[in-house]
Amino acid sequence: MTIQIKTVDMEPKRQTFGHVARRIGEGKSATRYQEGTFDVQPTTNFHYKPLYEPEYWTYDPRKTRVVMEDWYKPLDPRQYYYATYNISRATMNQAVERNFTFAEERALADKMSPAARKQIETYLLPLRHLHWGANMNMTEITQRGYGTAITAPAIFSAGDHLGMAQIISRIGLLLDGQTGVSLDLAKEVWINDPAWQGIRKLTEDSFVERDWFHLFVIQTLAINGVIFDLIYKMGDAGWADAQMTIALLTEFMSDWRSDESRWSDAVIKTVAAESEANRALISQWASTCIGAAVEATRPLSAAFLGDGGAGAEMAGEATAKRARGLGLTL
């Protein structure tokens, strides 16, 4: 049974904005994602060359070596615009709140073995710095990139990484009785522990990458695929008796990873499919940065999982397989 309320139908003159209609076809109604994304970045008739980089315009497709006839081809399969992004993250975060409450009520931190605690302090908490590095890179892609189809989801991703760095920080505070001692220690580890230095160097090297799409590949394919996946996805055994607790407290990260990779994989796939030149260039970038990430992660894998670096290799292989699935030749 349905009931129908009578409303006044007014014939609209047009269904959507001109630039959207030219993309989806005249007379079709557009989604909010389309209206909020397509062609909203300025493209021409700029007034002044940037004082800090006069060789480019502020918005300039030449800031990457890959070439797209249209930077609104690599769309976001999640169709995020600001509202849907925030609503999605607010929902994911409700689980975080429940899980932290659960862990606090059951005093899960006190029930861990000292060995498990040591593992978390040394191999989980320093990840907050890697998330912060990822936040810097995704913000850089937002400011430097071309076309809102990529730059808008990039600032969402930057927000995600800041949020995840803060979740890791909360895990530290849960462990150290809200004193911050564990976080100071984790920073020491990040700065000085040999197991982390390859990863820290990889991160710092990414900070000076000027080609924003190259940076996109380094961050979303290599760093997310090798390092974050090694720890969040393949690292269960490393947490000893705290395995369930860590799984619970990092639930957001696994939700995020499957959510974001839908987007970042689609972007790489679309940009690589544009031309043989793009495919060759991105393949070369992917091959190099996945290799570098595996090298950088090997000492961490060995120290964290006691596997002599095999975990890093496996994460690298999985990432290479993913890259091949996106049409890259490695």
């Binding site: 609209p12 001109g18 209206e35 909203v40 300025p42 600001y82 509202a83 600032i155 911050g180 090297d205």
Partner: protein
């Protein structure tokens, strides 16, 4: 020894600045290549006081809640054909000006705050700038979604993005933001964070949103309410930035002062469009531009600069001229658009007798003496079938890019002209404020993409008006010209007639 539990402030520090580290595999100056060339000296980034302590989980929660409410209203507005309930069909022109002129500026702010959010060396301001980058994207997208429904019925909205990059008067806000975006991160923060978002926001955001409230535009005013808490966060960031720079080193004062002077005047010129909107375009006016200037600049700005005087900062140069101009600027701007209505993507009209009386009341010193006679003359000409169009392309100010129609301070019957020589060329300005800005950075402002020059150089589709309108994607006879006789007016009258029929 047991460590103490963290207070809120230290906890927030762990959640933000604690994440950062001094790089050693790459030099910090290479990681942050843009934060030293402007000459700003920062001794201690850790002295930054976080103006609000928002973590991402709270951000997502608050913002998601606001978005749910806002989109419920936008949906209800569309479902119930809220566009038929506005005060008058003329009101839609305010939204045209807003979406073509202001919303693209929100986008530029989004990308600009991402620049500051990556390239300022201090983590505190970087995190705050990133959140503002997210907020500005929100404002762009919610404005598009709010006005999307109007676009289905009214002309002049559909090509907002294409027009922003091309149409002559839209180069005024565009060049303003291009200017800020092509500056370094500190100037950007003073230009947009302080001058625009703090000093002038009440003269931009508030007039549009109050205009919406007074004129039955429930959709836009709901956006306004929803964005209010974002805006107050942005204001707190803006004031914190300027205080921080001034506290860090005495050498920063002359640099910051120069930026405050520049961006006040740049902002004042852009706001001339808002002045015209408030005084002429709102069927139900909220207050006059002069009143708004008195409350939001003279009083609020006065108190602000009194507060900042302890750092040695003085009020912006030419603030007195801007205050004197508040008597004239809306009248002069609307007159420019009336003359060039064939090349504008919104409709113009001569104010009716009642509206002119309102202007006389609000502008007792100037309206009857200088501006009413002109409107009455143009009204008579239109009646005689000789509606006045200015078919000559105007000279533009090299800095603000507004046609040179403003008058001398203290002499409203003489057009103001200023000029400077640079590399063998003469550049023209509407005012001392605009000339000073050029003279301080001639290499930059000599580059301006001046719409009129570009038309003459053949870069805008051709030499005739139809060619240029075509290049603008401006539908002749629909988007432009007088409201009276426009398709918008016809549609509005049909809606009104329908309402009467239903009432009977």
């Amino acid at each position: 020894m047991s460590a103490k539990k963290l207070g809120l402030k230290q906890r927030y520090a762990h959640m933000t600045r604690g994440l950062d580290w001094e790089t050693s595999y790459q030099p910090m100056d290479k990681v942050f290549p843009y934060d030293s060339f402007e000459g700003i000296k920062i001794k201690d980034w850790s002295a930054w006081e976080d103006p609000f302590r928002l973590t991402m989980d709270t951000y997502w929660k608050f913002q998601a809640e606001k978005e749910r409410k806002l989109y419920a209203v936008i949906d209800a507005f569309a479902q119930n054909n809220g566009q038929t309930g506005i005060s008058d069909g003329r009101y839609a022109n305010v939204l045209k000006l807003f979406l073509t002129g202001i919303s693209p500026a929100e986008y530029q702010a989004h990308r600009g705050f991402a620049f500051a959010g990556r390239h300022l060396r201090g983590v505190g301001p970087r995190v705050a700038a990133q959140m503002q980058s997210l907020d500005e994207l929100r404002h762009l997208q919610t404005q598009i979604h709010t006005i999307s429904h109007y676009n289905k019925h009214f002309d002049g909205i559909s090509e907002f993005s294409h027009m922003h990059d091309r149409v002559w008067y839209l180069s005024v806000p565009k060049s303003f933001f291009d200017d800020a975006r092509s500056a370094g991160p500190f100037e950007y923060m003073i230009a947009i964070g302080f001058a625009f978002e703090y000093v002038l926001t009440n003269l931009l955001f508030v007039p549009f949103m109050s205009g919406a409230a007074y004129n039955g535009d429930m959709s836009t005013v709901t956006f306004g309410f929803s964005a209010q808490s974002d805006e107050s966060r942005h204001m707190t960031l803006g004031i914190e930035v300027i205080k921080f720079l001034l506290e860090q080193h005495p050498d920063n004062l002359p640099i910051v002062q120069k930026w405050v002077d520049k961006w006040f005047w740049r902002g004042h010129r852009v706001l001339g469009l808002v002045a015209m909107m408030m005084d002429y375009m709102l069927p139900k006016p909220v207050m006059s531009w002069k009143e708004a200037w008195e409350i939001y600049y003279t009083q609020a700005g006065g108190a602000l600069f009194q507060d900042l005087a302890r750092y040695g900062l003085r009020p912006p140069k030419y603030a007195d001229i801007a205050t004197a101009e508040a008597e004239h600027i809306s009248h002069q701007n609307w007159a420019i658009f009336y003359q060039y209505t064939h090349a504008a993507a919104f409709h113009t009209w001569i104010p009716d007798a009642k509206h002119m009386d309102w202007l006389s009341e609000k502008y007792p010193n100037t309206f009857d003496k200088y501006y009413r006679p002109r409107w009455e003359m143009w009204g008579r000409m239109a009646k005689e079938g000789k509606r006045f169009y200015n078919m000559a392309l105007p000279q533009l100010c090299q800095t603000c890019q507004i046609p040179m129609g403003y008058t001398e301070p203290g002499d409203p019957t003489t057009i103001a002209f200023r000029s400077s020589r640079f590399r063998g060329e003469t550049y023209h300005f509407c005012s001392d404020g605009c000339k000073d800005i050029f003279d301080a950075e001639p290499e930059k402002f000599a580059q301006s993409w001046l719409p009129v020059h570009q038309i003459f150089q053949g870069n805008c589709g051709g030499a005739t008006i139809p060619d240029v309108l075509n290049y603008y994607r401006l539908a002749n006879g629909a988007d432009n010209l007088d409201y009276v006789g426009s398709p918008d007016e016809k549609l509005w009258n049909e809606w009104q007639a329908d309402k009467l029929k239903t009432a009977v």
